[in-house]
Symmetry: C2
Subunit: 391 residues, 2 copies
Amino acid sequence: VDGLEVDSEGAGSRDGAGAYRGRRLSALPTIYDVAAKAGVSIATVSRVLNDQEAIRPLTRDRVLKAVRELSYVPDGAAKGLSRGHKHVVGLMFANTPADDDLSSEEELNLLFTDSVIRGAEWSANRLGYSLLLSGIPAGADRLRAVRALSAKVDGLILLDRVVAESQVSSLTKRCPVVLLAGSGRCADALTVRADNEGGMRAVAEHLVNEHGRRRAWFVAAYPDSPDSAIRAAAFCSAMADLGGDCDAADVLSADWTASGAARVLQQRLTAGGELPAAIACANDQMAIGAVHALTAASVRVPEDVAVIGFDDIQVARYLTPPLTTVRQPSRELGASAVDSLVGAVRGRALTPHAAGVAHHPAYARRPVDVVLPTQLVIRNSCGCPTPREAI
Amino acid sequence: VDGLEVDSEGAGSRDGAGAYRGRRLSALPTIYDVAAKAGVSIATVSRVLNDQEAIRPLTRDRVLKAVRELSYVPDGAAKGLSRGHKHVVGLMFANTPADDDLSSEEELNLLFTDSVIRGAEWSANRLGYSLLLSGIPAGADRLRAVRALSAKVDGLILLDRVVAESQVSSLTKRCPVVLLAGSGRCADALTVRADNEGGMRAVAEHLVNEHGRRRAWFVAAYPDSPDSAIRAAAFCSAMADLGGDCDAADVLSADWTASGAARVLQQRLTAGGELPAAIACANDQMAIGAVHALTAASVRVPEDVAVIGFDDIQVARYLTPPLTTVRQPSRELGASAVDSLVGAVRGRALTPHAAGVAHHPAYARRPVDVVLPTQLVIRNSCGCPTPREAI
DNA sequence: TTGTACGCGTTATCAG
DNA sequence: CTGATAACGCGTACAA
């Protein structure tokens, strides 16, 4: 169906000098107002503001004066539409049920996620991008939520268990995606993660070699969380290598929260059976919950049972006993995720032809799996004396 | 009238059936692609997606099928430009110097701000808005940063000391503004805050009436922080009313962090002079730092000095001793700020004529100063035995 | 050096 | 019930 006709009415083009047109949606000054006030065309205003090319100093000053007087700020949406990208990146995370209940006294999934958010914001800010935040309610259709947010951003960071890694390829077509705390085995997206394996191996070695504690439990979180799953597997396997003992039956499953961990541990304790010599946890909050449950059951930490966490949240050092844990650089993870993402966004922007994207040098050369180091921080909850410098 | 033929060069205007035009900035499907695939006009597609008016079921299904097959998502920027608002609200907060140093071992301003962020995100999400986050580096021009962000949002939430309240009127012209943790005395913007006065009065009453502790110090934060200033003033004045003693010289000034508070307190302690019977702090982190500094100086808490915090961060109960503190509903503050802001945004959207905004009923009837209750949570650091339910 | 005329992808207003 | 098309505000080839 071609050969359609276009009316000669001038098809809605603007009258050059900024004489004004129909309904305005907002009362804010536009580039037309600035142009009119400065007695120039909008093109000149645009050029001054994006300091391109050569502009006569006098003209430039006139424009800047008008900008100042109107306190004009170019609209972000219009800019995004016109330039093809919005200078916004999105960060999505999955809420636990407790997170969704505003009045809940339960603590949040907080802390790690929050540090990531801070790091991501910091880096985005530095690169001239803004960070759009989106938590996904516990019961919601996550893929749907991600797709919805993709409309507002140039790229997405997906935290931990937001989507199954098998589903990301459908998203990558839409915009660059960084998996933060992913398995590192997803070919369709960039990955940024901490060295979970190294961290858990260090824990196992410390427990077995320094303290001779061979029987251990592990407190994990959601099964669909790569971070939790990998930590559990790495710990069990390292313990096995060292002649220790932590098999599938010794892995408890909680929800990242202190109260959740306290609950499952209490159940296990009242069920009877032999106490382990150590309990490793997939994050610090659950270690706190574990200590709490043990103490309530009159089990001494670390004398009877050693407890080790993961994250090194800022209060770990102030707990009783001070918590031995694996430090992971949460803010750097967030920052690094944004760096990688922005790199990918820019790489993609260079190649309008979608087919060539994956092979564009600027894109291909970028690392696709960033692994940041972890470090065992020894305090008292493993049985060691707390070193001065770890306080 | 008509008669111009559209040739293959396509002088720019759209030919009805979605045959395609010049450079495309992104490879994503547009509403034209959907329309073409479904054999309808873009208007029909738009109507189906925004389910307006009546549409023939058959047509609707054809459109939805095309949408699904192309996995089409309407672009946010275009939508924002066309509808006049973006469905995005911004939340801005001022970083401390430590926040800006990624590699710093110092803890962040964290926790309270993070809870606010979570609450804001939660509420925004619920209302169909997205939350744009922006931390302002310590040395930066805050007003400038705020203006820059205003380009990308429909409304702004400004936390604590982001801008002086005298400067907000210039921002309010641009978009609705909510001052979160403001003084409540700013006529130019909505305010959402906690009942600082009530909380500090409860602290003073508890110290004096229950424990007979009359001589007190107060650990404050930045002078330009309304929250800190108000808490300090309220505490001093309540102490005076009760026959206690905490005057200007007894107010130490730190930076919201534990290490900062520990530092200033240590200085004061080594300077000699008489110890107070109690130390109240403007937030929990500083209370933690205070306990730390006192303990390091062999002063017992709570036997020698009682320490009380503010916020009730989630680890307060796990500290040694468990921290007595004033709970403020941080997430609710964030959520409430978004609620108010979205209300204002919608109110303003109803009245395109800027002059009428302030008097529009939907806008005028909205509360302009929301105050959320605080509550004294008694644990052990004030000298009380920790009640079971506060653990 | 500056101005004109599109185009970006939507929504909304009219005609039919 | 559906289609054509004018905005929305900005960037930018192309002309002047």
